[in-house]
């Protein structure tokens, strides 16, 4: 498990991170969400030791990681970086060897990864001769080639076509099944929703929400209900402790402001006629994100 505890980082007068704490358990996929400039990249760079924190600690499996431990992390930086003129396989072998992988193993793993990512026939091509999407795939391979025990991926899905997104997601799931913890940031909230086991939302350098997506929604959206009845539901406006968010003839979305208001609404609805639906509404991830980012 990777744990960041109360990380603070300032750039000049600006506080980029303010006591940020988060955890990436082994075998879990943690989505990292926040607006531009919220501090995601800074957090990730501190986790990898590329940048130092002003205060707070980073631990991996209970210990402050030194370079030898960090060498077993896989990293995909936000600004992609490989040698434009280098051959694909050569670059992967070079990076794997720097991470301590023996040359023959590095070559084999690099070849396998590129084949899996659909670049098996381009091992000797120069990176710059590839399309941007394919360069992105090579970048993915570069993060995985030394079989890391933790993955930190900054926007791994940006710039990928839907097929590549699926391939990438499958590779990441496979890694988590093998016990690897994955921390990835993304702006594509639906993707985060689909993939991640846990979610961390960052706003202006602070963690404003963290936990399993389902639980987060429940805790944030527990007071919202939808109601569907035959006939007009106009009467709900008069029920005490209820605010009407939407009303369209027989269907309404309500926010319940007082405890017990749900039962009062239901009783009244049943009294007036058939009730087709009455259920709590969980906010979508983007609604949740917008709410906590406000």
């Amino acid at each position: 498990m990777l744990v960041l505890d109360a990380i603070t980082r300032r750039f000049g007068d600006r506080t980029a991170l303010d006591r940020v704490s988060l955890a990436v358990p082994d075998g879990r996929m943690v989505g990292f969400v926040g607006a531009n400039g919220a501090g995601k990249t800074t957090t990730m760079r501190i986790a990898l030791g590329v940048l130092a924190a002003d205060s707070g600690t980073v631990t991996f499996r209970g210990r402050v990681p030194d370079l030898a431990v960090r060498r077993r992390f896989g990293y995909m930086p936000e600004e992609r970086g490989l040698y434009p003129k280098g051959q694909l396989l050569d670059q992967l072998v070079f990076l794997a060897r720097l991470h301590g992988v023996a040359p023959a193993t590095a070559r084999r793993r690099g070849t396998e990864l590129l084949e899996r990512l659909g670049l098996g026939d381009r091992l000797k091509d120069r990176l710059e001769s590839l399309s941007l999407g394919n360069q992105q795939r090579v970048q993915v391979a570069a993060a995985l080639v030394h079989d890391p025990e933790l993955l930190v991926l900054d926007e791994p899905f940006s710039g990928l076509d839907p097929l590549a997104v699926d391939a990438m997601a499958e590779i990441l799931r496979e890694r988590t099944r093998a016990g690897v913890g994955v921390l990835f940031s993304s702006h594509q909230l639906d993707l985060v929703d689909r993939l991640c086991d846990e979610l961390v939302i960052l706003r202006a350098g602070r963690v404003v929400a963290a936990g399993e997506p389902q639980g987060l929604r429940r805790s944030r959206g527990g007071s919202r209900y939808s109601l569907e009845v035959d006939g007009d539901a106009d009467w709900v406006r008069d029920v005490a402790g209820v605010r009407v968010l939407q009303l369209d003839r027989g269907s309404a979305v309500l926010e319940l402001l007082a405890p017990g208001a749900d039962q009062r609404v239901l009783a009244e609805a049943v009294r007036r006629g058939p009730v087709r639906a009455f259920a709590p509404v969980l906010p979508t991830l983007s609604e949740l994100f917008q709410e906590v980012s406000r």
Binding site: R71, E79, Y83, P84, L98, G100, E149, A178
Partner: protein, 408 residues
């Protein structure tokens, strides 16, 4: 660690990799450079220059000169026999029927000159616009000898006696200081040292700086620093390029020596200090390169894009160029040359020249090397700090002051 892919677990041998990362980086630098056509071209170009410098003077001056000379039946006997003592000239005679035919051959360039009967019984040497001086001398000497023999014979001297008289050897040369070195040769070879040092330091210095700034510009550096300590990265870059630079220099020096040995053996014989000076030059190069290489790396780290390199590399460039030009003012032995042979930035170019001229004691180059080493310690420390402070600053190129302060 088990995985669900078909790959076997990757064995990570941490201790070994920590020790050897600089070598992995160095290997990449070397293979990258060898794949670079510009580098290969510059090596071939320098090789051609060195070989030309070694061979051309020999081809232009040394050796036996061959001449073709047209003669008529009347003049053939006059220049047929070489007198004793004639050297470095081979004259081939072509007998032609008459004067007009001989002149035609001279005009067409088929012969270098013609020896023809002239007005009043005087013999003429006929050339087109000039007669090569070596040939003119040889023809003069041959004709004089033939005329003397004819004169002796006319007054009744036995031809054998006459030949004996003519065989008296000419005055011999005796030099009081035969080992004194030809100053022109020393100057030229000294220039060769300066130019080689200057060229190779610039070529590889720029290569190092470019390699550093490219890793910044392409953000590869962000990946590298998660696994390689910055210092090992620096060592690897400098070692990789340094080894190639040394290989290139050794190739050029050996080619130059071999060329001199093949084409100008008498020069080597008159200047036995050439191989020793060359060896010293290589040693000076290694230390001099090490002293400057880190500064090039720092210049690369302070730039954020290749375009910025021009400005951040200018100070280092000056540290190479100014001593190079200064070394040209140190042709002649004297105070200036002695001082420059100890100043660390110029000594790699000047001290080998003094060794060449043969007027230094062993301790002098050793002291000079020690001064370079001491300077290198300081410059490397400064450069390392600039490098480490600047490496991850990708936004803009840094001023010297900003790069120095950042971590302080």
């Amino acid at each position: 660690m088990s995985t669900s892919t078909s790959t076997a677990p990757v064995a990570i041998d941490r201790d070994r990799t920590v020790q050897r990362q600089w070598w992995i980086v160095a290997q990449r630098e070397i293979s990258e450079r060898l794949r670079d056509k510009g580098f290969v071209f510059s090596t071939v170009f320098l090789l051609v220059v060195v070989l030309a410098a070694a061979f051309l003077p020999g081809l232009l001056s040394g050796g036996t000169d061959r001449y073709q000379v047209a003669v008529t039946a009347d003049t053939a006997a006059l220049v047929r026999d070489a007198p004793p003592g004639e050297q470095d000239v081979a004259v081939e005679l072509r007998t032609v029927p008459d004067l007009a035919a001989a002149e035609a051959l001279v005009r067409s360039g088929d012969v270098d000159a013609a020896v023809l009967p002239g007005a009043g019984g005087r013999v003429e040497v006929v050339g087109e616009s000039s007669v090569p001086s070596g040939l003119a001398q040889a023809l003069d000497a041959r004709a004089s000898a033939a005329q003397v023999l004819a004169g002796f014979s006319a007054v009744g001297v036995d031809p054998a006696d006459a030949a004996r008289i003519l065989a008296t050897p000419p005055p011999a040369q005796r030099l009081l200081d035969p080992d004194a070195v030809d100053p022109v040769t020393v100057t030229l070879l000294g220039f060769a040292f300066s130019v080689l040092f200057f060229q190779i330091v610039l070529i590889f210095g720029y290569a190092i700086a470019q390699s550093v700034v490219q890793e910044k510009q392409t953000r590869v550096i962000e990946l590298l620093v998660t696994t390689v300590p910055v210092r090992q990265l620096l060592v690897g870059k400098i070692l990789g390029n340094g080894l190639l630079a040394l290989a290139q220099l050794a190739l050029l020096v050996l080619a130059g020596l071999a060329g001199l040995f093949a084409a100008q053996r008498d020069l080597l014989a008159s200047l036995p200090s050439v191989p020793v000076a060359a060896l010293w030059f290589v040693v000076f190069f290694v230390l001099g390169f090490a002293m400057l290489a880190c500064l090039w790396a720092a210049a690369g780290a302070m730039a954020s894009r290749l375009e910025d390199l021009q400005s951040t590399a200018t100070p280092v460039q000056m540290l190479v160029m100014l001593p190079f030009f200064a070394s040209f003012f140190a042709n002649d032995p004297g105070t200036v040359q002695t001082v420059l042979s100890y100043l660390p930035l110029s000594s790699p170019m000047v001290m080998p020249r003094r060794v060449l001229a043969g007027d230094v004691a062993l301790w002098e180059p050793l002291l000079s090397l020690a001064l370079i080493a001491a300077t290198a310690v300081v410059l490397v420390a400064v450069a390392r700090r600039l490098y480490e402070n600047s490496l991850l600053q990708t936004g803009r190129s840094l001023s010297l002051r900003a790069a120095w302060r950042r971590a302080a």
